[in-house]
């Protein structure tokens, strides 16, 4: 192959590592991408981060921009993109029903579309200035309980906590 074509293929292939594929997920004890997650929804009182993932789950893509944050999760049992987490200013909760919340400072809503053959549901955490939405769409046969496992990895930090991490790990400023 001519050198110029080789160069083109090489560079375009390298570019395949898009922003979404190279952004690290927001960890709960480091500044890192957690800061820009907080900046993506600047009025939100709570900011999502991800703790240790349950076995079989991995993060496939992270998109953080001025419209919010989106994390895509793959599972060895529930399939690719089996769960997507959206962090935005507001959520259109549709006919989701209120359920007891397991996160302080946030209301929780659930909307289960189906349990079989593949679990499909939305879960919302609504709070002042922001909203986190889980979208689960599992492959056939994957147990719905996987959503509970994965959901436990989500941590909602207060904006004050994020500012504290910022001061401790980087600079004496606020978001």
């Amino acid at each position: 192959m001519p050198p110029l074509l080789s160069l083109l293929v090489l560079t375009v292939s390298i570019a395949a590592c898009s922003v979404e594929q190279t952004l690290p997920p927001p960890h709960c004890e480091q500044a890192g991408s957690g800061l820009i997650v907080a900046q993506s929804v600047p009025d939100a009182e709570l900011v999502p981060c991800v703790g240790p993932l349950p076995a079989g789950w991995e993060i496939d893509g992270v998109r953080i921009d001025d419209g919010g944050t989106r994390l895509r999760f793959d599972s060895d049992r529930a399939g690719d993109d089996a769960a997507v987490l959206h962090f935005t200013r507001t959520c259109d909760r549709g006919d989701a029903v209120t359920v007891p919340s397991d996160r302080a400072g946030a209301e929780r809503f659930e909307s289960i579309e189906r349990l079989v053959p593949g679990f499909r549901a939305d879960r919302y955490y609504a709070f002042e200035g922001g909203c986190v939405r889980w979208r689960f769409d599992f492959d056939d046969g994957a147990p719905a309980g996987l959503s509970v496992e994965l959901g436990s990895a989500l941590v909602l930090l207060s904006r004050d906590d994020v500012n504290e991490i910022l001061r401790e790990t980087f600079i004496d400023e606020e978001l």
Partner: protein
């Protein structure tokens, strides 16, 4: 020069990343950045905010696709495929560097300010600024000639980047050093790639027609040619000027005026011509099969040796060509000059008054080729020169020893077509019967079709409008067309391979067109 750019860029990148990965310097720079942009962000004005938001949006979303695709279209229209590929490679490389370095440094958007513009991911280096810079610089290097147009283009780019960079600060999405780093990455990578792969001296941008592979013989190359001619052939050069560029696609033909006023002819060959030769032969093999011994040359030295050899063989066979005077080495293995006599007072055959004597002399030249077991393989008006009653066959680069009868027949057909352009097919046919049998003429036109005609001759025949090939066929005895499509396993495999590479390249490009800013 390109190596110096590469070294400078690597040094800059290492220092930059190290600074941002170390806590103390990163904090210090961030504090200075925030101090610098505070007066800008805290003094946002109602009348200025909408245009700044617009500039942020246009610069991030629209400018690169508009500039990039415009340059691609212009580049393709002017057959600068190399420059177009480099534009895409520059954007891809800049996108990759910005993304990877950004993910390592992990710098947040400016802290303490409300962001009112579009952004994505980390801020250092500014990805939209880097992509816009790369797109603008690549578009400039792809479409704009050096000199005043290039200087105006640079001024415009600087102006656009200043506006866009300020808008990024105003809307609070980038720090000042993010913008500077983005400009640095965009300029450095793009300039480096263009200088390495399409240096201006070898691939100049111009719009005065002719072939894009023609080399600029002014400046340092001009000086090198003068020095080499003096040192290797003892020729004192007064002037060098390109000549007959429109008829030559595989080299840069030159007229060299000596200090005593006499002239020499020279053909400059470089690696770009070697690549052209390779692409040309690959294209012919794909389209028509391997018609003849179409192996490409593996070095510039061999390419020029072949032409020098063909000139000498033709001269020995009594064919009027151009007397070779020697090969001059400009840059070892890269650039060589083949120097011959200059046919002073000669004109291309379509500029000469066509007489029966001239037709005879031209046909005799083909006859001599047949007798000596040679083929010229590029007979067209630009390569048949007339001086007085002499006919000279020039540009023997495609010449071949012991060609197939088919190839020799094509030489005859092409010469008859050249002659008929300024006379009549009937006259040429009648004169040709003096030297060739009717069967031989019939075979020549049975073998002749679009692909066998050099492009200049093909264009002239089309513009002539007299259906010359058909007219000659009707004059000659009937003969079945000679098949020129040759299917072999090798051709089939090569076609599949090229199709696979093209498809893979297209898939990679289309899959990433958004990531490199072109969508």
């Amino acid at each position: 020069m390109a190596v110096a750019w590469l070294a400078a860029f690597i040094v800059w990148a290492v220092i930059w990343v190290w600074v941002f990965l170390a806590d103390e310097p990163a904090i210090w720079i961030t504090e200075r950045d925030l101090e610098l942009m505070r007066p800008i962000v805290e003094n946002r004005r109602g009348w200025l905010t909408p245009p700044m938001e617009w500039a942020n949006r246009i610069g991030s979303d629209w400018a690169v696709p508009i500039v990039g695709w415009s340059a691609v279209v212009i580049g393709l229209a002017t057959k600068r495929i190399r420059h177009v590929l480099l534009l895409i490679a520059s954007l891809a490389t800049v996108a990759a560097i910005s993304t990877i370095v950004g993910a390592e440094i992990m710098r947040p958007r400016p802290l303490g300010f409300t962001q009112i513009g579009e952004w994505e991911g980390f801020s250092q280096p500014s990805r939209p600024v880097a992509l816009l810079t790369a797109g603008l610089v690549a578009a400039l290097l792809t479409t704009t000639p050096t000199g005043r147009p290039r200087r105006i283009g640079i001024a415009l780019i600087v102006g656009l980047l200043v506006v866009f960079g300020f808008a990024q600060l105003y809307v609070g999405v980038d720090h000042p050093t993010d913008v500077l780093a983005g400009v640095n990455v965009g300029v450095a990578v793009t300039l480096l790639l263009y200088r390495l792969v399409a240096p201006e001296a070898v691939f100049p941008i111009h719009y005065r027609g002719g072939n894009t592979a023609h080399l600029d013989v002014t400046g340092r190359r001009g000086e090198a040619i003068r020095r080499a001619l003096h040192d290797q052939l003892g020729v004192a050069v007064a002037d060098i000027e390109p000549v007959g560029l429109e008829g030559s696609a595989g080299s840069t033909p030159l007229k060299i005026t000596r200090s005593d006023g006499t002239a020499l002819f020279a053909k400059l060959y470089a690696r770009s011509h070697l690549r052209s030769d390779r692409s040309y032969k690959l294209g012919r093999t794909l389209l028509y099969g391997r018609l003849e011994d179409e192996q490409h040359f593996t070095s510039v030295r061999r390419l020029i040796q072949h032409e020098d050899y063909m000139l000498r063989v033709m001269a020995a066979a009594g064919i009027e060509a151009m007397s070779p005077l020697g090969i001059v080495e400009i840059t070892p293995e890269h650039e060589y000059l083949l120097v011959t006599e200059f046919l002073d007072g000669a004109v291309e055959i379509d500029q000469a008054e066509m007489t029966e004597e001239l037709i005879d002399a031209s046909l005799q030249a083909v006859c001599a080729l047949w007798t000596a077991g040679l083929a010229h393989r590029d007979i067209k008006p630009a390569n048949v020169m007339v001086r007085g009653s002499e006919v000279h066959l020039i540009d023997v680069a495609f010449g071949q020893v012991r060609p197939s009868p088919w190839r020799q027949a094509v030489d005859l057909a092409n010469m008859m077509l050249v002659l008929a352009l300024t006379s009549s097919p009937e006259t040429v046919y009648e004169r040709a019967r003096r030297y060739f049998s009717e069967d031989e003429i019939a075979e020549a036109f049975a073998a002749s079709r679009g692909v066998t005609l050099p492009s200049q001759l093909r264009g002239d025949v089309r513009r002539d409008g007299r259906e010359l090939v058909e007219r000659f066929r009707s004059l000659a005895p009937e003969r079945s067309p000679v098949a020129i499509q040759r299917w072999t396993v090798r051709r089939l495999a090569l076609t599949l391979w090229v199709a696979f590479v093209a498809a893979a390249l297209a898939a990679v490009f289309l899959g990433n067109v958004g990531d490199i800013g072109l969508l």
